[in-house]
Symmetry: C2
């Protein structure tokens, strides 16, 4: 935790949290919607992705337990978003609405610090990911995926991992088999 | 401005700012350094980039006047960074050191809000860029570049723009000529 809260502040914050269950393959958010909340995953896994003109999915982010997820551009501008967010497994989440968060910032300003640190950490992760996508090989991008999401390596379908590192499922499968053969 | 400051708070903040001039092609930060500051551009232009194993440069970000730039992962973790930051033109900047920023947060907590909003806006920009790199054509990525950096279209060398959108300078030149021919 990046800030210390009194019992009252904790209770105040908790009063705004909305618990929700999402079934596997169900959408939390779709392209063209306005994203009014950030979601925090308690159990299961969400992913955010875009679909290109040829119908291919490109995964922006996975959110296993403990991760936040949202279409930040839509949340900030309150304009229609460009991402889809759906559940890879049955998933339990907490929703925190932007309008409630503004109330929380006013009542308990130290949450500004909490969400500043959260945003900066996410920003660092995205900078690192983008540099990886621009300059690393598929194998190195796979290794970065493993470092970032150790809990997902065994349980995610390979086609999801392929859509994250930017290769076809066939290429990923071949690459991983070559890796095993070499060991 | 995202926050209102008293004259005293403004003066306190300003007392930490360090002004610096960087000549064209001079480095502000190199791979392997620990990034202890964020830089704000007053005049000129900085860029952050990585160099891959084959020696090719990949531009993460440009910083024309009014933009902040830094290697966020290195700033947060205080571990050696992976980026280079140098000047495209003679550039005037303000440095804000991480250690000073922590003092500022303690003395004037509303700066937490200012830098939270800054980080969230940057995060949204990176999400958008990453999705573009994953799913858009080179032409669409060029259009996104033009929307994000309207002031740079005319003054940046084409090879810098190519290194940002992820194509060779020859490909970009051919693409832009085709666009002109069609009009």
């Amino acid at each position: 935790m990046h800030i210390s809260l009194t019992t009252e502040e904790e209770a105040y914050f908790a009063s705004f949290l909305q618990y929700k269950n999402i079934r596997r393959k169900q959408f939390l958010f779709q392209e063209g919607d306005v994203n009014k909340f950030q979601a925090f995953v308690i159990e299961g896994c969400l992913r955010s992705y875009s679909i290109d003109r040829s119908g291919f999915e490109h995964v922006l982010q996975f959110a296993p337990p403990g991760w936040w997820i949202g279409d930040m551009q839509s949340i900030i501008t309150q304009q229609p978003g460009t991402l889809y967010i759906d559940a890879i497994d049955d998933t339990a989440i907490i929703l925190l609405f932007k309008s409630d968060l503004e109330k929380i910032y006013t009542a308990v300003p130290k949450f500004e610090r909490f969400f500043r640190i959260l945003a900066e950490n996410a920003l660092a992760t995205y900078q690192h990911r983008l540099i990886g996508n621009l300059s690393l090989s598929a194998k190195e991008r796979y290794e970065n995926f493993c470092r970032l999401y150790p809990s997902l390596i065994q349980c995610l379908p390979q086609k999801q991992i392929a859509a994250y590192i930017g290769v076809t499922p066939e290429f990923l499968s071949k690459m991983l088999n070559q890796g095993t053969a070499k060991k």
